[in-house]
Amino acid sequence: MSSTGTEDLEAFRRRARDFARANLGPASARTAAGALRNDRTDEEELAEVAREREVQRMLFDAGLAGICLPTEYGGQGLTLAHQRALNEELAGYEFPTRFQAPTLSPCAAVLLDFGTEEQKRRHIPAILKGEELWMQFLSEPSGGSDVAGALTSAVRDGDEWVLNGSKIWTTGAWWSDWGLCLARTNWDVPKHRGLTVFIFPIRQEGIDVHRIEMLNGSKEFCQEFMTDVRVPDSDRVGDVDDGWTVGTRWMFHERMLTNSPLVTVPVGFGHGGTGVSSLVAIGARDAGRLSEPVVRDLVGEARMLDIADRELRHRVGQGIATGVMVDQSAALTRLFSGVTATRIRTIGFEVVGTAGAAWTDEDGQLAHSADDYLMRQVSQIGGGTTEMARNVVSERVLGMPRERSLDRDVPFRDVPRGRPSSRS
């Protein structure tokens, strides 16, 4: 510790390095892929979750959890530079990916912004100790991008609220602990003014977690059905009917994702680093095509996009932190990451040739390229579509006129809602 009380960066770095060497195993190739894949059993997944809770606890005990979080909530109270140093020192090691997004950002970030003192003291240390995994109860089956159009209702009953409705696209709700939920508390005012945010344990009577099978067989995503779920008023976040104030920050934190100062992402991990373009190259090698000039051009393009994505995140993160850029600029990284990730998936499919259509268990990295390609649009859908991001950038960053909407100044109960799909 220096005289100012902030740990010297180099000392911190050595401490992180020593910890990683002594305690952590290597990152799995699967972690590096960062893709939604159907390549393990439920038992394997639960074992991974358990290991991540353990590693999170080890990081906490070593003083390496919550680098930029306040010390009164169990964090380290250090700087972004320390977080970056940790990201560098953890490169190539296993790390608790499930505790980063959405647990630390946006969920813990929202609690820090709007939670009561009691909520923060109860949950932030528990998260940092690996005891609580959080999920966002945000999107609904009735509409993904229009989150303020939530239909899940919360009705006050004395000191409690009674929630009914359905949320969807929660990754891994079946092994998670707590939910951050946006619900409608007033149907007689325009949609943005009748929302309230709540928190509650996911595993309780009244919440039915249904696992959704994606087109590639993955069952990571869930839909939850809430029936008369009772939430004490002390588990409300922000003011009644002021949930959109919370929601706006919530979505900002969501767009920041791995760029958030609260989140640990080892350098080279997933599409926050150069992991995906390396997998493209390994796929091309496994297909015996890495020497072809056309393939090399594509491998070079994939690396170019990976690094451009990483550097844009750094720039926008710095711009927002220093106030040079408006908060809504986070939509720039969301847009760019989504578009570049789909391109890299396409390249990964292209470079493996025919093995992209049919493969054997012995084909190494080739085996995943078709699945990744089929699921490619996920990167432009999950976490808010790229179309929404383009609206945010043009309207909130460039100040262009807003799209016309028919639900702005009418009571929410009178807003046209369309017919439920006959297939759902």
């Binding site: 090399r296 170019m304 844009l312 760019f336 460039l398």
Partner: protein, 379 residues
């Protein structure tokens, strides 16, 4: 451009921008279209007085940086050059001055002084006639004969070849590379002008026919210049990228302004979602271009191990995505965007020029593939 500048850097950038506003407004650029050199000596000296040519040179040779990282400071000048589509041999003069400072010993002190004052201009000959115009194919022959070296070969395109007082020539001596500082008026050197895509940047074919100069005009050791050549190419990429991003910024700003001002069917272009979404894409490319350009410059300035990778990322990305941005700006303008009267082409030209020199996007993607192969142990 960097998001966070020190107050000294900001003052330097702003002073440069003001000088360019004053001396080379678009009307002057249009006039210089017919000028053989594309820039005036008075203009270049004014810039040299500000420090445009001193940033990569050590203090013992009269140079000096603003921040301690001269290349980062020079990138600020280059960015403003791009924003103004400004004339003048910024990259080549600085590259030659830096190499003479680093590898030339004290015998080039006089030349460095002339370059720093703006009295003289230097250029660098790397590329040769197609297909040897890539980054890695230097064929010009440099032969040592007693206390002389003899040069034979052709360099093209050589920036400001018709105006330069000194030519730093990269050539081959056996299996290694050599660099020689050839005074422009040496016997056997012939210079002929080329056509160029830029309004003010001039390029030449420079032929060397048994050109003999004293051995002490070799910069560094004969046959041992490969590292210096690579460093020069890296600097050229960094400066060119900063300039290209400046040109993109002006084109984008002009087009956003146009979208607000131009009405069709009773509403501004900026109100159409199709166009708004394209502006969002363009802004993401523009900010990513700023990001990779700054990262590459900082990495090269600090001698970071990933400098080569970042430079190739910047050159490939800014070339490709910046090209799409520039052309989409033209598209948003409609017919006026493809006229000489409109200013947009001044910036389109500067970007287009920088895309094609010091390695095309495809060449840099090939370099990236080499780097990935090496990093992942796939070779």
């Amino acid at each position: 451009m960097l998001l966070a500048l020190s107050s000294d850097q900001e003052l330097f950038r702003e002073t440069t921008a003001k000088l360019l506003d004053e001396l080379v407004p678009v009307g002057e650029l249009r006039r210089l279209r017919e000028d053989a050199d594309g820039f005036g000596t008075g203009y270049w000296r004014r810039g040299a007085d500000l420090g445009w040519t001193s940033l990569l040179v050590g203090e013992h040779h009269g140079g000096g940086s603003i921040s301690g990282a001269g290349l980062v400071d020079l990138a600020l000048v280059a960015y403003e050059f791009g924003r103004h589509a400004a004339p003048g041999p910024l990259a080549v003069t600085n590259i030659v001055a830096a190499t003479l400072d680093e590898a030339g010993g004290d015998r080039f002190d006089g030349v460095i002084k002339e370059l720093l004052s703006g009295e003289a201009v230097a250029t660098w000959g790397l590329a040769e006639a197609p297909p040897n115009d890539g980054l890695d194919s230097v064929l010009l022959d440099v032969r040592v004969e007693g206390d002389e070296v003899v040069l034979n070969g052709v360099k093209r395109p050589v920036e400001s070849g018709g105006r330069a007082d000194y030519l730093l020539v990269s050539g081959r001596t056996g299996s290694g590379l050599s660099q020689v500082l050839v005074p422009a008026r040496t016997a056997g050197v012939s210079v002929s002008p080329m056509h160029s895509v830029d309004v003010t940047r001039r390029f030449s074919v420079v032929a060397f026919d048994d050109v003999r100069v004293p051995l002490d005009l070799v910069v560094g050791e004969p046959g041992a210049a490969a590292g210096q050549v690579e460093l020069q190419a890296g600097r050229a990429v960094a400066i060119g990228c900063a300039e290209a991003v400046g040109a993109m910024q002006t084109a984008f700003d002009l087009t956003v302004e146009w979208a607000f001002d131009r009405y069709s069917f009773g509403r501004p272009l900026a109100s159409y979602q199709e166009l708004k979404h394209r502006f969002a894409d363009m802004l993401s490319w523009l900010e990513a271009s700023h990001a990779v350009s700054d990262a590459a410059t900082a990495a090269l300035a600090s001698g970071s191990a990933d400098a080569a990778e970042l430079l190739s990322v910047a050159k490939a990305f800014i070339g490709d995505y910046g090209g799409e941005l520039m052309q989409d700006c033209v598209q948003m303008h409609g017919g006026i965007g493809v006229t000489f009267e409109h200013d947009l082409h001044l910036y389109l030209r500067r970007h287009t020029l920088n895309r094609a020199i010091y390695g095309t996007p495809a060449e840099h993607r090939a370099r990236l593939a080499d780097i990935v192969e090496e990093q992942e142990g796939l070779a």
